[in-house]
Amino acid sequence: MTATVGQQAQAAARASDVWKVYGSGEAQVIALRGVSAEFERGRFTAIMGPSGSGKSTLMHCLAGLDSVTRGTVMIGDTTVTGLGDAGLTKLRRDKVGFIFQQFNLLPTLTAQENILLPLSIAGRKPDPAWYDTVIDTVGLRERLGHRPAQLSGGQQQRVACARALVARPEVIFADEPTGNLDSRSGAEVLNFLRNSVREHGQTIVMVTHDPTAAAYADRVVFLADGQIVSELIEPTADTVLDTMKKLDAPAEVGN
């Protein structure tokens, strides 16, 4: 099944017939079986699925972190498949941002330094207006001089979000961004992600297994057993939960 929503020209990221196979022989695991999907520009897409469904693998392949066994992946108009290390580095620098479950901030740097790290790695100066906008949106202006250890989990994740946003990448990949947060902090972060899509046209692809989190997205793509099995537009927590329940009973979806 292929998820085709929106116009092709506007796709920020696209997977075409992507296969991912780990190992060989007896130990062979097929993580993705011919997934094709498009993620439109300026939208917030969630990828959902039970454990082992291949949702994280799909995201890693989309982001160029993992190679695909077959098929092609594109980010904007760049074909990710087949890029060398230099090309992938440039891609990550210019077109992709990440938000991790574990926040992954450098403990030795202040919040501000962490936010500006991708730009300083690339040797670029931040756009001051956009930087101010980002800082105000995440609401961390008072905490910029603090180190990660002095911030709460929610604050750390907001720093991580700001870090991803400040470089204005083509697409931000978020890997269970609320997995390590309590529900209130999680809601803050999700609101903030949704706002950045609505107000600033940012494209976000988020992997999650939490229906409440998925409900913040504009669209949810469901994976099971390495294939896209369903999708929802304008989801609510309830509709997501319903779909998930169906997926948990594979017999019903099988056909």
Binding site: D66, F100, N104, L106, T108, P118, R163
Partner: protein, 849 residues
């Protein structure tokens, strides 16, 4: 990026400091060596320019045999007294003096022993009166032939005072004099550069120090007002012709100090050699530290990659850290080196008898060397970990990538290749196939062998560590410690390899020197057929000698069958330098030293005949009947005919001249005496009689053969001790390495240690676990070192077979000592990391992240 690197560096400063310490020590040696040689060099300059400040022009004859500082004291050819008058006739001179000044005036102290020197000469000279530089401190000038004055430092060392009767050994046997005065130098100095001086009246000085009347060592003159020393030098040279060397005082000072500096540069090279060892060990340590740091920062580095850092930037950031560590270590090392250089210069000055040190000098070479070596070594060591860091995939930021146990195949193959290259180089170097590059080839071989073995170590470490560890496996902490030490074979291996280098070098050197000792004593016991030996310990450049009259008197003792006195000198033979010897009784060659005739007759020598060893005959292309011109330190050249060739052995000299030649030797007195007794004569009966004969030759004593052999071979003990002490530094650095590795491992396992504590491991047990790990690693390193060192030593010993080192002696007790020492090192190294591990906050550790 730059800032991120620096910040992460600061966060780990303690860890890096520890590994930087190895670089600090290496750099300290490098800069210390340069500071020492510079300071001493300038001190010598000052001493000599001062000593020659009252000489404008000096006239000397060319030496008969030119020697370098390393080869011994050169004997000046005497200048006839008539030269003094010829110089006086040159217009523009004033104050012309004939000077007697030669090494070898040995004062006998109040304890009956000769005052020894550890380097500076013991000058015997004629008293030339006081000057601006030299002043009598007490008493008066020598007037009668049995009166002398000495410098204050010598009088103090001999514990003699004005009015005492004192004995002096010169070219002649002991003579008694009355000490009538002591003198010192301007500025309150008791000696110049530690030199001991005995001043006689001129005729006595000529006879005792130069061997004949009416000659001088050199003639000095001052330039009259209006004449420059250079102009006067040229005038004097013209007046005297080409037989004499005429120099200005400044030239003399430069020459004298240049020859001493030659000796210093040798010393410098030794220090730099030890610096190289320290830095080699340091390289292992840095490599390990950076590897561990990179491993611990995997997630962080992956994050950098994920947010856009290129592989090159990651390499750059690790290298930048290395540069920073290297720079800081260089600065600290330079500071420590200046301190060490100053300390050594001070000790050297003391030992040399009060050398006045010029101001401490830090030459540019010390600074450049310090920074180049410190930074380059650190960066080179960090390159491999940096490369590994750049290969961390960005995806490692998202998941807990279990670092897979990378196969050791590559490293093992590489190690085998490098070891083979090292072995090949060693074979070439030791086999004498490398020509002029022998030393470089051997050193290269040793270096390659070390690196090769270090690369093979991970493979070896598995079984060996498992075996070693099983000794401790009787308790749970012991078992855990053993498992931990086998957990990361590479890390264990590099840590152990660092210890290996130091221990291998010490073991190797010990094997070589012990084998040399063993071979020499075996040979001596087998071949020397003398029951009693007269000899003295050599403390300075000049060997001890004794009155030749003792030989005849000893031969007259009932029961003595044969007495031989051995003389030696550096001479030129057909223009090439060689060591020549005289046996007072040529028959001793066969009857005492067991020499075998290859050609001709070696049992007797006419005054115009000489004997050569088979090696000398071969290298100089000599056969019986060849004629050879020999120039000794004194006298005229003499032509000898080769009358016999004996088989070379460890105990034979290259050339034996007839007894008459000994009079022209630099030291015309026997250095060793061998006494063979008739069968049935008791050694105990003869020994005291010879002792009595030696009463006036306090430099030597008589000993039975076993004691003599022991005394001879024990001369090798001093260099052995020195090398061991200096190499101990390499071991100290390795200990730092063990501490560092453990500290980092503890940090890495915080969570695991917390868990162990949470399920009931006591503090003491935690500490024991860490200690077992340290002990296993260090014993493993020591074991490797002993094995590798024995291999290297055995290879060298084998290569030296032709040089007479025939027995391979393995220092078993030393090896066991090293292993025990290693166990202690392990325990010591574990103290701090173990305390740290025991203090881990249980809750914090398991709740963390």
């Amino acid at each position: 990026m730059f800032r991120a690197t620096l910040k992460s560096l600061l966060a780990r400063k303690l860890r890096l400091l520890l590994s930087g310490l190895a670089v600090v020590l290496g750099v300290m040696f490098v800069s210390g060596a340069f500071v020492l040689t510079d300071t001493l060099g300038r001190s010598f300059d000052a001493v000599f320019s001062d000593a020659f400040s009252e000489v404008d022009v000096n006239v000397a004859a060319k030496p008969k045999v030119a020697l370098s500082e390393v080869e011994g004291e050169q004997v000046a050819t005497p200048v006839p007294a008539s030269v003094v008058d010829r110089v006086k006739a040159v217009p523009g001179v004033t104050d012309v003096q004939g000077v007697v000044n030669a090494d070898g005036a040995r004062l006998i102290g109040s304890n009956g022993k000769v005052v020894t020197s550890f380097g500076p000469p013991q000058l015997g000279e004629n008293w030339l009166g006081e000057s601006d530089l030299l002043k009598l401190r007490e008493g008066r000038a020598p007037q009668a032939d049995d009166e002398i004055v000495v410098n204050v430092a010598l009088a103090d060392a001999a514990k003699v005072k004005v009015g005492d009767r004192v004995g002096v050994l010169t070219l002649a046997p002991k003579k008694e004099f009355t000490l009538v005065g002591v003198f010192g130098y301007s500025g309150g100095r008791d000696s110049v550069g530690g030199v001991n001086e005995v001043a006689f009246t001129t005729p006595v000085a000529q006879q005792l120090m130069l061997g004949k009347p009416d000659v001088f060592s050199n003639v000095t003159a001052q330039a009259a007002d209006g004449t420059t020393p250079e102009a006067l030098r040229d005038d004097v040279a013209r007046a005297l012709g080409t037989d004499y060397e005429v120099k200005t005082g400044k030239q003399l000072a430069d020459d004298a100090s240049a020859s001493l500096k030659e000796g210093l540069s040798f010393f410098n090279k030794i220090l730099l050699g030890f610096a190289a060892v320290a830095l080699l060990v340091g390289t292992f340590l840095i490599l390990n530290t950076f590897s561990i740091i990179v491993a611990q920062r995997t997630r962080e580095l992956a994050l950098m990659r994920a947010i856009g850092a290129s592989g090159r930037q990651i390499i750059g950031s690790v290298v930048l850290e290395a540069v920073a560590v290297g720079l800081i270590a260089s600065v600290l090392g330079l500071a420590a080196g200046i301190g060490v250089g100053a300390l050594l210069a001070y000790l050297f000055g003391k030992l040399a008898g009060g050398l006045t040190l010029a101001g401490l000098g830090v030459p540019p070479a010390a600074i450049i060397g310090a920074f180049a070596v410190g930074t380059v070594i650190t960066v080179v060591a960090a390159l491999l970990p940096a490369l590994r860091a750049s290969r961390i995939p960005p995806i490692a930021a998202m998941q807990d990538v279990a670092t897979p146990d990378r196969p050791l195949t590559k490293v093992t193959v590489g190690g085998s290749v490098v070891t083979a290259i090292g072995a090949g180089l060693l074979f070439l170097g030791l086999g004498g196939h490398a020509g002029d590059n022998t030393l470089a080839t051997i050193l290269g071989g040793v270096l390659f062998a070390f690196i090769g073995v270090a690369l093979l170590t991970p493979l070896i470490s598995r079984p060996v560590v498992a075996l070693l560890g099983s000794i401790f496996a009787w308790s749970v902490p012991g078992k855990l410690g053993r498992l931990n030490s086998g957990r990361n074979p590479r890390r264990t291996a590099i840590t152990a390899a660092a210890l290996m280098v130091g221990i291998a070098l010490v073991t190797g050197v010990t094997v070589i020197l012990d084998s040399a000792k063993g071979s020499i004593s075996a040979l001596a016991e087998d071949t020397i057929k003398a029951e009693l030996v007269i000899s003295g310990a050599q403390t300075g450049p000049r060997p001890a000698s004794f009155d030749p009259a003792v030989l005849e008197k000893a031969a007259a003792i009932p029961g003595v069958r044969l007495v031989d006195g051995e003389y030696g000198d550096m001479a030129t033979m057909n223009g090439e330098r060689t060591w020549v010897a005289v046996s007072s009784d040529v028959a001793a060659l066969e009857r005492i030293f067991g020499a075998k005739a290859n050609a001709g007759d070696i049992s007797r020598l006419n005054p115009d005949q000489m004997l050569v060893s088979s090696d000398t005959a071969e290298s100089r292309k000599l056969s019986v009947g060849s004629t050879v011109t020999v120039q000794l330190s004194r006298g005229e050249a003499h032509t000898y005919t080769v009358s016999g060739i004996y088989e070379s052995s460890q105990l034979t000299n290259p050339v034996v001249l007839p007894p008459q030649a000994a009079a022209d030797f630099a030291i015309p007195q026997p250095i060793q005496g061998f006494v063979q007794l008739a069968p049935g004569t008791s050694v105990a009966a003869v020994q005291p009689q010879i002792e009595r004969l030696l009463a006036d030759s306090p430099e030597v004593s008589v000993a039975d053969r076993a004691a003599f052999i022991k005394q001879q071979t024990s001369q090798l003990d001093t260099p052995l001790r020195m090398i061991q002490i200096l190499l101990a530094l390499a071991i100290v650095i390795a200990v730092l390495g063990i501490i560092n590795t453990l500290a980092l491992s503890v940090l890495e396992r915080t969570r695991e240690l917390g868990l162990l504590r949470a399920i009931g491991l006591r503090r003491a047990q935690t500490m024991r676990m860490i200690t077992v790990e340290a002990v296993v690693i260090s014993i493993f390193g020591a074991l490797l070192g002993v094995v590798v060192g024995t291999g290297l030593g055995a290879a060298v010993v084998r290569a030296l077979k032709d040089e007479g080192i025939t027995d391979l002696v393995l220092p078993w007790s030393q090896m066991v000592t090293f292993l025990v020492l290693a166990a202690i090192i392990g325990v010591v190294a574990a103290v701090l990391p173990a305390i740290r591990a025991a203090r881990i906050n249980v809750l914090g550790a398991i709740a963390h992240d």
